[in-house]
């Protein structure tokens, strides 16, 4: 009975957080519209969609299914670790925060963003390690089995998957002005290796299920991870290449 009670209070806490995230974003955008240029409509859409997709694997039927079925877990993983971060990044939340905060606070925040720690964490290689490396640990050790038994561990893993996914996305594409830029070639190379590692792990799981997962579930989960990953990564590749394309546009000085 206690367990059920704990579950439902965590459940409602989550709902409150998601609602606050949406309300705060819209309010901030509307208020700052008076002083700055109008906040693009598409970004409201990206933010709301991003929050809803973050919520899907955490509350509702998919969350319950994910405890029982590896394929449902994998859908949750793709949504929480890849699609939701991408949508949220496209909503440019840091830009919105910067224009909402009073100048002194915004400056302080920007100082934090420029710190060595953030530089280290948002380096494409480190972000890729945190993101994909975390998955190797999750699926190749007994962690996956343990997280099904412990509420706390479950939450930590989900938080890690989400934030590592977000970090990886902002290290690759620059929607918010990044505090630390890296070269396009570096990002492209790291990206290819990260995508490859994701695909290799996906196929490996096809025949080596995580502890406690029946092989029929690991097979379909593996295929989903492989192709689902591709589908979302293609958007990031396109944005990365487009930004590259824009940055290298010929100037009149080149005389072509």
């Amino acid at each position: 009975m206690n367990h059920v009670h704990a579950l439902s209070s965590v459940f409602s806490l989550n709902i409150v957080i998601f609602i606050i995230a949406i309300v705060l974003y819209i309010t901030a955008a509307l208020i700052t519209n008076r002083t700055y240029r109008s906040w693009p409509r598409s970004r409201y859409f990206f933010w709301i969609a991003g929050v809803l997709i973050t919520a899907l694997p955490i509350i509702g039927p998919l969350a319950n299914l994910a405890h029982l079925d590896f394929k449902a877990h994998m859908v949750g993983h793709l949504l929480l670790g890849m699609l939701a971060p991408l949508l949220l990044v496209l909503a440019a939340p840091m830009t919105l925060i910067m224009r909402t905060l009073p100048l002194a606070l915004a400056r302080q925040l920007s100082r934090i963003l420029k710190s060595k720690l953030i530089r280290f964490l948002s380096d494409p290689l480190i972000a890729a390690f945190l993101n994909i490396g975390g998955l190797y640990i999750l699926y190749l050790t007994d962690l996956y089995m343990w997280m099904q038994q412990s509420m706390l561990l479950h939450s930590i893993v989900y938080l890690h998957v989400f934030f590592a996914g977000y970090l990886f996305t902002i290290s690759m594409i620059y929607i918010d002005q990044p505090a630390h830029r890296t070269s396009y070639v570096y990002r492209a190379v790291v990206f290819v290796f990260a995508l490859a590692s994701h695909g290799i792990l996906a196929k490996y799981l096809y025949v080596h299920p995580p502890t406690g997962v029946p092989s029929s579930q690991s097979e379909s989960g593996s295929i989903l991870m492989y192709y689902g990953g591709d589908a979302i990564e293609i958007v990031i590749i396109t944005i990365l290449c487009y930004q590259w394309f824009r940055a290298t546009r010929p100037s009149f000085a080149e005389g072509i």
């Binding site: 492209a188 990206f191 290819v192 290796f193 995508l195 490859a196 590692s197 994701h198 695909g199 290799i200 196929k203 490996y204 096809y206 025949v207 593996s222 295929i223 492989y226 591709d230 990564e233 293609i234 590749i237 396109t238 290449c241 487009y242 590259w244 394309f245 290298t248 546009r249 010929p250 072509i256």
Partner: protein
């Protein structure tokens, strides 16, 4: 245009085509042979791990190469330095090289999966690899011929 710039764009034409060619073959392999015909298997249980790594790397690379190659193509067009012949040469060369690698190293040596699970699979292997060599050959001719014409409408 000076010689250096000329060389830079000549090689960019080749690279753009090459990357797109690699990506194109990867894409056809995935859609036609895996998804539509179901000839290729997702993964053979007997595949050694090196096959898995090679597949993962090439799959990721070809995914990136398709899009990157097309953006390079757009870049050549906006600079008005596209050489269609050289670009197609690059496409065929990239497609042929990747297909040959796939057909010899990945299918045969690393035993990732076979082209089709039938008897006499060697007939499929032969056609697959001969097609690859033909693409490399034609691609090579196109590239060389676009080189002979020094002033390829840059």
């Amino acid at each position: 245009m000076d010689v250096l710039t000329h060389q830079k764009f000549a090689s960019r034409n080749l690279w753009s085509g090459f990357l797109f060619g690699v990506g194109l073959v990867g894409f056809i392999d995935e859609t036609v042979f895996h998804q539509l015909l179901h000839w290729h298997h997702f993964y053979d249980r007997s595949t050694p791990e090196v096959g898995l790594v090679s597949d993962g790397l090439f799959h990721a690379f070809s995914w990136f190469a398709t899009i990157g190659g097309l953006f390079l193509f757009a870049d050549l067009r906006r600079r008005k330095v596209l050489s269609v012949r050289r670009w197609w040469g690059g496409v065929l060369l990239g497609a042929g090289v990747f297909q040959l690698y796939d057909g010899t190293i990945q299918h045969k040596l690393m035993r990732l999966h076979q082209i089709r699970y039938v008897e006499h699979v060697y007939i499929y292997d032969l056609i697959w690899n001969i097609a690859a060599v033909i693409m490399i050959f034609i691609g090579g001719i196109l590239i060389v011929r676009s080189k002979v014409k020094k002033d390829f409408s840059l």
